[in-house]
C-alpha cells in the first residue's frame, strides 16, 4: 500500500505539493477526549502521517455513544493504544509517538515547539488553556474543537489572533488559579448556555453542577465539530485556503451550524461577573448570587418541562 494509492481521491482536490505538506505536518494531540481520538483517526484518513498523541484514559461504557475507537471488545483498553492501532491500520507508514501520561508544563513546551499544529483535547478546560498559551508562546497554530450537548465551537488560534481567554471571557489566572476557579459552583453557573444553546436537560445540568454527572455529549454534534476541525487542519497544513481564525468560529447550535463569531455577550457578562464577584468583597456576595441562580434554573426547568410535554408521542 503506497501513500499515493491510499489517498488517491485527495488528489482530486489537492496538488501533489499540498498533499505532501499534509503528509509532513506534525500533529500534537494532547488528551483523549472524544474529539481528540475521533479527530486523530479522521486526520489519518486525510493523509496526515506524523502524530504525537498523549492521553491517560481507558475506554468505558459511557464512551460508546460517541467515541470512534470504543467497542465492546475495547472497553478497558487505553485510548492511546487503540488510536495508534487504528491510525496504523489506515496508513501502515504513519509515525505515531506519545505516552499514556499527560505532559507536564516543561515537557509541553518541548512538544509544542516540535509540532506544526497543536490540538488540545482534554475535558479539563484549564489544562487546555495552558496548551493554548504554550502554542501562542511558540507561534504555533492551535485548534479549538469544543462540543457540548447540541452546541459546539471550532476555531483556529494563532500568535496573531485573540486568545481563548479573550473569546470566552476567562480571567487571566495561572493554571492552578484557573483550575480552582473552574471547579467552583459560580463558574459552573456561568455555563448556563449549555442549557439555553446546547439543549442540556436541566436535571442533568444540576447533577453536573454538583459534580455527579459528566458533560452531556452526543455523537452527531461531536463528529460534526470534529469534521469541521479536520477541515481547518487541512486549511492550516496546505496553506491553500484561509482557516477560520479566532474571533471567527464555526458555531453549532441546536442542530444548526454556521460560520460566525464567538459571542460577545457571553464574553462580557463573564468578564463583568468576574470583576464583581470573582475576588475580594464580591466573594462574600456569592450566597446572594445563589438565590439568583436557583430561581434562574427553576425557570429554565419549568420552561423545558412545558416544552417536553408538548413534544409528539410518535416520530
Amino acid at each position: 500500500m503506497n501513500y499515493h494509492d491510499l489517498f488517491e481521491r485527495n488528489y482530486g482536490v489537492f496538488t501533489e505539493e499540498e498533499q505532501d505538506r499534509i503528509r509532513r505536518t506534525r500533529i500534537l494531540i494532547v488528551g483523549d477526549s472524544g474529539t481528540g481520538e475521533t479527530l486523530s483517526v479522521l486526520l489519518a484518513r486525510c493523509g496526515f502521517e506524523r502524530f504525537t498523541l498523549f492521553g491517560e484514559r481507558t475506554y468505558t461504557k459511557g464512551d460508546m455513544n460517541r467515541q470512534i475507537g470504543c467497542f465492546l471488545d475495547t472497553i478497558g483498553t487505553p485510548k492511546i493504544v487503540q488510536m495508534e492501532k487504528m491510525i496504523r491500520s489506515i496508513n501502515p507508514a504513519a509515525e505515531v509517538s506519545g505516552s499514556q501520561h499527560l505532559p507536564g508544563e516543561a515537557q509541553l513546551d518541548a512538544l509544542v515547539q516540535d509540532a506544526d499544529l497543536v490540538i488540545p483535547a482534554v475535558e479539563d478546560l484549564s489544562y487546555s488553556i495552558l496548551i493554548f498559551r504554550c502554542a501562542k508562546k511558540h507561534a504555533k497554530p492551535a485548534l479549538l474543537c469544543m462540543p457540548s450537548g447540541s452546541m459546539g465551537w471550532v476555531s483556529v488560534f494563532t500568535k496573531d489572533t485573540p486568545t481563548i481567554e479573550d473569546v470566552f471571557g476567562i480571567p487571566p489566572l495561572s493554571y492552578k488559579g484557573l483550575r480552582r476557579m473552574m471547579h467552583t459552583r459560580e463558574y459552573r453557573c456561568a455555563q448556563y448556555t449549555f442549557i439555553t444553546s446546547g439543549d442540556w436537560r436541566v436535571p442533568w445540568f444540576w447533577d453536573y453542577f454538583l459534580d455527579k454527572r459528566p458533560l452531556a455529549l452526543i455523537c452527531t454534534t461531536e463528529w460534526m465539530a470534529v469534521s469541521l476541525a479536520a477541515l481547518e487542519a487541512l486549511k492550516v497544513a496546505t496553506h491553500t485556503w484561509n482557516p477560520t481564525l479566532a474571533p471567527k468560529c464555526w458555531y453549532l447550535r441546536r442542530g444548526r451550524v454556521s460560520r460566525s463569531h464567538f459571542s460577545l455577550f457571553v464574553k462580557y457578562h463573564r468578564k463583568l461577573g468576574w470583576l464583581i464577584f470573582g475576588q475580594g468583597v464580591g466573594k462574600a456576595m456569592h450566597k446572594l448570587t445563589h438565590l439568583f441562580w436557583g430561581s434562574f434554573f427553576r425557570i429554565l426547568r419549568s420552561w423545558q418541562t412545558r416544552k417536553e410535554q408538548k413534544s409528539p408521542d410518535q416520530p
Binding site: 491510499l6 481521491r9 482530486g12 482536490v13 489537492f14 469534521s227 416520530p315
Partner: protein, 317 residues
C-alpha cells in the same frame, strides 16, 4: 453485557427517556454502505438506534481508505455492509442488523422500505438512488439525501409530500432507471457538474479525467464526515421529535467556508445551476442539439484552459 442505558447514558443529558426510546425503536434502511452510508450507520448506532437494514454489494478497496469509516488494512476486500453490520453489533449487542451483501432489485428494496421508518439511498450509482428516493416517497416514508463532492455537499430530508430529489439537484424527470442511468452517463449531462471546479475545489486535470470517465469522483474525509454527521443529525431530529428537521424544499448547502440552509428556487447559485440544467436538457431535445453540442465542446476547451491557468497561478508555476 452492558445495558442500553449504560451505553447511551450521556445521551440522556440531552434527550428525555421518551425521545431516546423513539430513537431506539426507529429503523433505517441504508442502500450503499460506503463513505456516507457507512458513516451515517455508525453514527446512528452510536446515537442509540437499534434497527438497521444494510444493503451493499461492494467490497472495500484501497482508494476507500481516505474517507470510509469501515475501511482498514484488515477489511480490504471485505463486503462493506457486512463490516458496518459487525461494527454496529460491537457498539450495541442488542442492535438488530439485517445485511444484504448483494445487488438488490428495486422491487426487493421497495419491500424493505415498508419495514423501516427512514430510508437512506446512498449508492454510488445516482440513478439507482433516485429510484429508491421515488419509491420511498411513493410508500410514504421520509428519506435522507446526502450528496458530497470535493469540498461541497447538499443534505436534506425528503418528506413523502415534499418536493423530490430531482428538484434539488436539477435532474430531468425520466421514468425508468435505465433512462436515468443512460442520461447521467452522457457527456452533455456530466458537463452540467462543472461547478465541481469553482465551488467544490476539484482540480481541473482531475475533473477532466472524471469527465472522460478515467477517474472516480474526488472526495475528502472531512467533507464526507461533515455531511454525514449533518445527515445523521437530521435523522435524529426527525425520529426523536426534539428539533425540527431541515426538509425539502429546504436543504443544507455546504462549502468549505459556509454552511447555509437554501430553498429550492431561492436566491442561490444552486438555483441557477438547477435551472441551467433543466433548460439545457430541454434544448438538447430540440433540433438545435448538434449546434449546442458544438458550442458546449468549445465552452469546455475554454473552461479547461481558464482553470488550468488559474491553477498554475495558484501553485506559483
Amino acid at each position: 453485557m452492558p445495558h442500553y442505558h449504560e451505553l447511551f447514558e450521556r445521551n440522556f443529558g440531552i434527550f428525555t427517556p421518551g425521545e431516546q426510546e423513539r430513537i431506539r425503536a426507529s429503523g433505517i434502511l441504508i442502500v450503499g454502505c460506503g463513505g456516507i452510508g457507512g458513516t451515517v450507520a455508525v453514527m446512528l448506532a452510536r446515537s442509540g438506534m437499534e434497527k438497521f437494514i444494510l444493503v451493499d454489494f461492494d467490497v472495500y478497496g484501497i482508494s476507500n481508505m481516505n474517507r470510509q469509516i469501515g475501511c482498514f488494512s484488515d477489511t480490504l476486500g471485505r463486503n462493506k455492509a457486512e463490516v458496518i453490520g459487525e461494527e454496529i453489533c460491537k457498539i450495541n449487542p442488542e442492535a438488530q442488523v439485517e445485511v444484504f451483501p448483494e445487488l438488490l432489485s428495486h422491487e426487493k428494496i421497495a419491500e424493505l422500505i415498508e419495514r423501516v421508518d427512514v430510508v437512506f439511498p446512498a449508492a454510488d450509482d445516482l440513478a439507482f438512488s433516485i429510484v429508491v428516493f421515488r419509491d420511498a416517497q411513493r410508500l410514504g416514508k421520509p428519506s435522507l439525501m446526502v450528496v458530497p463532492s470535493g469540498t461541497w455537499a447538499n443534505v436534506t430530508i425528503l418528506m413523502p409530500d415534499g418536493p423530490p430529489v430531482e428538484e434539488i439537484e436539477g435532474v430531468p424527470k425520466l421514468g425508468s432507471y435505465e433512462e436515468l442511468k443512460t442520461m447521467l452517463s452522457t457527456r452533455k449531462y456530466r458537463y452540467g457538474t462543472y461547478f465541481y471546479v469553482p465551488v467544490a475545489d476539484w482540480r481541473i486535470d482531475y475533473y477532466r479525467s472524471f469527465i472522460e470517465e478515467t477517474k472516480p469522483p474526488a472526495h475528502i474525509a472531512p467533507l464526507v464526515w461533515l455531511c454525514s454527521s449533518l445527515g445523521a443529525f437530521e435523522v435524529i431530529k426527525l425520529i426523536s421529535g426534539k428539533w425540527k428537521p431541515v426538509s425539502s424544499p429546504r436543504y443544507w448547502n455546504i462549502t468549505r467556508n459556509a454552511i447555509r440552509i437554501n430553498r429550492i428556487n431561492g436566491l442561490s447559485l444552486q438555483t441557477l445551476l438547477v435551472w441551467q440544467r433543466k433548460v439545457m436538457w430541454l434544448l438538447f431535445q430540440t433540433p438545435l442539439a448538434p449546434l449546442l453540442e458544438q458550442a458546449q465542446n468549445l465552452w469546455w476547451k475554454l473552461f479547461c484552459a481558464w482553470y488550468s491557468y488559474r491553477e498554475r497561478k495558484r501553485s506559483g508555476g
